[in-house]
């Protein structure tokens, strides 16, 4: 077990493209930190630098208090789970699980014991003598996990391990990874572009954008107080409505709450914070036309066009809405649910 610390980490690929622009991040012992961000923002690069698969252009990475910048992956005592699993195709499942232990000179008896234990934990005992190609996608994923846990490393590094699974299996495995990580208590860094996966798994969430960290915090913190327009738009589904203050103020009968900080030119509101019908004093009252209704079971997503606003707003209505498309709708934005942002800096005010 170990803490992982990144200080001023930068990456410039040979050829000159700088993709990581100075990352500082402290990951506590036993913590599960999720790196999330759009595709191409540098999550994998950062993870692979921690693993030792990419050189570090600048800054330091330490694992368990020791700087590992120039250490080989194997010397860092980490285990990695890849998106395509990277199982050795010519080895049996047992061979895959054993390989890392054998290379480290672990005694035979201990190898067997650890493989048995890992296989039992992941419920792959009956597949131990099969080759990877004789397994389903989900089973392969478990073997990849097994290969990481038999090693009992200081840290697990996951690079989109569930992206190749179908939605249902992805949900199941997500829960299983969470449970496993809790029970083993191994420090973990988990990369994904899927914000739902990120929210549900993370002890702490790191939102990355363009090689920078946008915000670090508990998932609920990030949801409740996104530090930037980027985070506000990225976390939460359906995404936060971001409204232009000037356009809002130009609407008849709309006044913005005094509590909004000076210089607010964009306000955000979560689709599920919007109240249908009447407003409390101080709330912003709007009316619009329902363009589209997406029933998603327990709730419905309404796409509402407000005259004078550029984009349709998304509203989450609880239960099954009786509204029909083209109906007109009154709704309220509660004053305490507004997120104030500055367009110029992109930051929360």
């Amino acid at each position: 077990m170990a803490a992982i610390e990144l200080a001023g980490v930068k990456k410039t690929y040979p050829g000159g493209a700088q993709v990581i622009h100075g990352i500082d991040l402290a990951i506590g012992d036993g913590e599960l930190v999720v790196l999330v961000g759009p595709s191409g923002c540098g999550k994998s690069t950062l993870l692979r630098m921690i693993a030792g698969l990419e050189t570090i252009s600048d800054g330091t990475i330490s694992i368990g208090g020791a700087v590992v910048n120039t250490k080989e992956p194997a010397e860092r005592d980490i285990a990695m789970v890849f998106q395509n699993y990277a199982l050795y195709p010519h080895m049996t499942v047992r061979g895959n699980l054993e390989y890392g232990l054998k290379n480290r000179g672990t005694p035979r008896a201990e190898i067997d014991a650890r493989v048995e234990a890992a296989a039992r934990t992941l419920e792959i005992s009956q597949f131990l003598d099969r080759k990877p190609r004789q397994l389903s996608g989900g089973q392969r994923q478990r073997v990849a996990m097994g290969r990481a846990i038999v090693r009992q490393p200081k840290a697990f590094l996951f690079d989109e391990p569930l992206s190749n699974l179908d939605a249902k299996l992805r949900g199941q495995m997500r829960i299983e990874i969470r449970r496993l990580q809790r029970s083993l208590g191994t420090t973990s860094v988990y990369v994904t572009h899927d914000q739902l996966e990120a929210m549900t798994l993370a002890d702490r969430l790191v939102v990355m954008n363009g090689g920078h960290i946008e915000q670090v915090g508990k998932p609920t913190e990030l949801y409740d107080r996104p530090a930037s327009l980027f985070v506000a738009g990225f976390i939460g589904s359906p995404p936060m409505n971001l409204l232009d203050v000037a356009a809002l103020q130009a609407l008849p009968g709309v006044t913005l709450p005094d509590a909004l900080p000076d210089g607010t030119d964009i306000v955000g509101i979560r689709p599920d914070a919007i109240i249908l019908g009447t407003a409390a004093p101080g709330d912003i009252l709007l009316s619009g036309t329902v363009e589209l209704i997406e029933p998603v079971g327990g709730e419905s997503h309404l796409y509402v066009r407000v005259a004078g606003l550029e984009q349709a707003m998304i509203i989450v209505a609880q239960g099954r809405s009786e509204l029909v498309e083209a109906a007109s709708l009154d709704f309220a934005l509660p004053a305490d649910a507004l997120h104030p942002f500055s367009r110029a800096t992109g930051k929360r005010l």
Binding site: M80, N84, A86, Y88, P89, H90, Y99, N103
Partner: protein, 282 residues
């Protein structure tokens, strides 16, 4: 596709049967000739049906050879050919796979230059640089030796390219996983890459074995001692004599024996053969 054109089907088989006959006839004649006694070739046309001297002819060729042409027994020449073909095939595969490994899995100064040097060998077949190559081999004292027969032929651009192509299709993550699992470069090569290359190596072996077996000009140049004759070049010497002193039955027995090993390989390892042929040419 369902298509009912009986005449087209008949034509198809007709074409193929004629094709097979054209392909097989020269060899059929050779086999027939190898079963006759020496007297059969004095009349004015070769026999078309088998004779009864098969065992005598093959027995004589294998154990004694043709005394008049100064060629050693075929057993020796076959053994030489076998050694040459196997050494060439194995060595080509070995040095090519490690070169490809270096080029794909490492980055180092002069890497591109190394690649081009290997590539250039494609443009220098032995036939076109024959005299200076002969001279190098002579200067190194490799005439009349197995080393001289094989070493100059074991550089291979095509095999290197084949392995390079294959390695590029091996997912990067496999090597990364192995590194995380504590495997260094040689361990990764031995434990992962080599087993994954098995089919490619086998396919290549078939092609290269045939290549080595068919060598003619090179053994002709570097061997003057009958001890090192290979069967393919030995036959030519016998045939040259047979023209004057028609022992066609014996020459054709030798021809059949010289064809047999590689032809059997093609027939019985057809899948590997086709794979090797098609992939090395990509």
């Amino acid at each position: 596709m369902v298509e009912n054109r009986p005449w087209l089907n008949v034509l198809t088989h007709l074409v193929l049967v004629v094709g097979v006959i054209i392909i097989a006839f020269p060899v059929y004649l050779a086999v027939i000739a190898s079963t006759h006694g020496p007297g059969a070739f004095l009349s004015n046309v070769v026999p078309l049906l088998p004779g009864s001297y098969m065992l005598d002819n093959y027995g004589q060729m294998l154990s004694q050879g043709m005394s008049t042409s100064g060629a050693p027994p075929l057993t020796l020449m076959l053994a030489n050919s076998l050694v040459m073909a196997i050494v060439i095939a194995v060595a080509k595969i070995a040095i090519s796979i490690i070169s490809a490994y270096a080029i794909v899995y490492f980055r180092f100064p002069l890497r591109t230059l190394a690649f081009w040097i290997i590539f250039i060998t494609l443009m220098l077949p032995v036939e076109v640089r024959i005299i200076p190559t002969f001279k190098v081999v002579a200067d190194l004292g490799l005439l009349n030796s197995y080393a001289g027969l094989t070493i100059p032929l074991i550089a291979s651009a095509t095999a290197t390219f084949l392995f390079r192509q294959f390695f590029l299709t091996v997912p990067d993550e496999l090597m990364e996983a192995a590194r995380v699992d504590g495997a260094g470069p040689m361990k990764f090569f031995r434990d992962i890459l080599l087993p994954l290359s098995r089919t490619n190596m086998a396919a290549l072996f078939v092609i290269l074995f045939i290549y080595g077996w068919m060598q003619y000009l090179w053994p002709l140049l570097v061997t003057t001692d009958p001890k090192f004759y290979t069967v393919v070049m030995g036959i030519k010497r016998m045939a040259a004599v047979a023209d004057a002193d028609p022992q066609w039955n014996l020459v054709m027995a030798a021809v059949v024996l010289a064809m047999l090993p590689p032809v059997l390989i093609v027939i019985f390892m057809q899948r590997l053969f086709v794979k090797g042929l098609v992939e090395t040419e990509k």
